[in-house]
């Protein structure tokens, strides 16, 4: 009888320790994923901040291209109010497309193309886009680790109970505006 009690206690202790370890690793992984998402938001915000400057610079040279400006402003507003990775992916994609059409304007306006401020903004924006890509890869790597942990046995048995769920990857859809050639109107 005594031996049996010890065995039961032993098993219970092992299970409790395993629960603690599993819980902690869930916490660590999901915190990492959240931090990585915050990194993306920093870069996205930088991009939103640069756009009004770009628009006002370009307006000085190509004031009648109002359709393009509206498109950019609209895409920016939409991107700023997007929630979650999937919606953000969609909105950022639209924004990239709209920005491309603004940069395409410089082909038609040589003065604009030579403007120092414009070149600087172009450089900053393309750098920010690279940084969004970098942050996206880091985020997706972390989400992948979390999702693998949540899905693999036996951790998958308790993930739901503890309230941890898989997170979305931040994907930028391929077949959208960002991939298509920019229309240049003269």
């Amino acid at each position: 009888m005594n031996t049996l009690t010890y065995i039961i206690f032993g098993i219970a202790a092992v299970v409790v320790i395993w629960l603690i370890v599993a819980y902690n690793s869930f916490v660590r992984l999901s915190t990492r994923a959240k931090e990585a998402w915050a990194d993306i938001e920093v870069q996205l915000k930088r991009r939103y901040d640069l756009i009004p400057n770009l628009v006002s610079t370009v307006k000085g040279y190509a004031s009648h291209e109002s359709v393009t400006f509206e498109k950019v402003t609209e895409a920016r507003t939409k991107a700023m109010s997007a929630q979650g990775p999937a919606e953000h992916g969609e909105a950022e994609n639209m924004l990239s497309g709209a920005l491309k059409s603004i940069f395409a304007l410089s082909e038609a306006y040589p003065d604009l193309k030579a403007n120092q401020n414009f070149l600087e903004l172009q450089r900053e924006l393309s750098d920010t886009e690279n940084k969004i890509q970098a942050a996206r890869r880091f985020y997706n790597g972390n989400v992948r680790d979390l999702n693998i942990k949540i899905e693999s046995f036996p951790a998958n048995l308790i993930a739901g109970t503890f309230g941890f769920s898989k997170q979305e990857f931040f994907d930028i859809p391929d077949n959208d505006a960002a991939q298509q050639p920019v229309e240049v109107k003269f």
Binding site: A36, R123, D127, A134, A135, R137, F138, G141
Partner: protein, 297 residues
């Protein structure tokens, strides 16, 4: 898994190195104290050894950067280098290291610092001029991997502690050879000989320590994790090819800092073969190409 093991090994080796240095300096102090019959020398040696250990932890990176003639890189002037590093640091999930540029035509690079929050990457002007964007990205990713794998503290502390011992040995040995005849009559002359012999024995040990610390495996490991970061092993492979085929000598490198660089700065010299701090470039390129086939990246 392999990377986590290397974290632990690096931390342990740093402790071993600091303890050894402590013991060596105290042993020297003890010898002096015996010869002069003055125990205060031993206390001074103990304080000095403690001081050097703390000093090497906090200031090694600054010493390394300054003996290499590295100057802080300006973001506007070195735009590609700077933004590329920012992006790779984001992908690797480490804080942005400080960036330095060395005015040297030979292409080379190294990383230093005590942890990832206090890290620095230095590259030569020759490297920036010679490499394409993807090649430079490969090199930076290699250096960031050294930071992430915690290689930098050990290899930087080695410079100051081991470098100090070998400089001491140099001074005493030269003193024996050129000035030995002068004071051979008095007691100090005999002491100099003793210390000189002790240090002459220590010097090869110091060299072995460098080799011990700078396991050649870590270069392979940094190559591999760097390639994972850029997802483009060819970049680093072709950068290594270019760096190793450069025929000139690197002027700003020092014997004590040679192991820090991505590629041995003293190629061709006899000393280089003796130290062998780096695996042959051909092997590293072959490993990178193997990685490419294995992972399909």
């Amino acid at each position: 898994m392999a990377v986590y093991q290397s974290y632990d090994t690096n931390v342990r080796k740093t402790w071993v190195l600091m303890t050894l240095f402590f013991l060596v300096v105290i042993a020297i102090g003890f010898t002096f104290a015996q010869v002069w019959q003055d125990s205060s020398i031993l206390y001074i040696a103990i304080i000095f050894a403690l001081f050097m250990n703390f000093f090497s932890y906090w200031y090694s990176d600054k010493i390394v950067l300054s003996i290499s003639g590295a100057v802080a890189a300006d973001k506007q002037e070195f735009w590609d280098f700077y933004t590329m590093t920012e992006n790779l640091a984001i992908t690797a999930g480490i804080p942005m290291p400080k960036l330095y540029v060395i005015s040297d035509a030979a292409p080379n690079a190294f990383a230093t610092g005590r942890n990832k929050e206090h890290a620095a990457v230095a590259v030569t002007r020759g490297l920036l001029e010679m490499l394409t964007k993807t090649e430079l990205e490969g090199v930076i990713a290699h250096e960031l991997s050294h930071i992430r794998n915690k290689d930098i503290l050990l290899s930087t502390v080695v410079v100051v502690l081991v470098g100090f011992i070998s400089i001491m040995a140099d001074i005493f040995l030269r003193g024996m050879m050129f000035g030995g005849g002068r004071d051979s009559d008095n007691k100090n002359g005999g002491l100099l000989v003793i210390v000189g012999v002790v240090l002459a024995i220590l010097s090869p040990i110091a060299v072995t320590l460098i080799q011990l610390a700078i396991s050649r495996k870590r270069e392979f490991l940094a190559d591999a994790s760097g390639a994972l970061l850029t997802r483009y092993p060819d970049g680093l492979a072709s950068a290594l090819k270019k760096i190793s085929s450069y025929s000139g000598q690197m002027k700003s490198a020092h014997q004590a800092t040679a192991h820090l660089y991505i590629s041995n700065p003293f190629r061709g010299k006899n000393m280089a073969k003796l130290f062998m701090t780096h695996p042959p470039v051909e092997e590293r390129i072959a490993a990178l190409m193997g990685l490419k086939e294995e992972t399909g990246v």
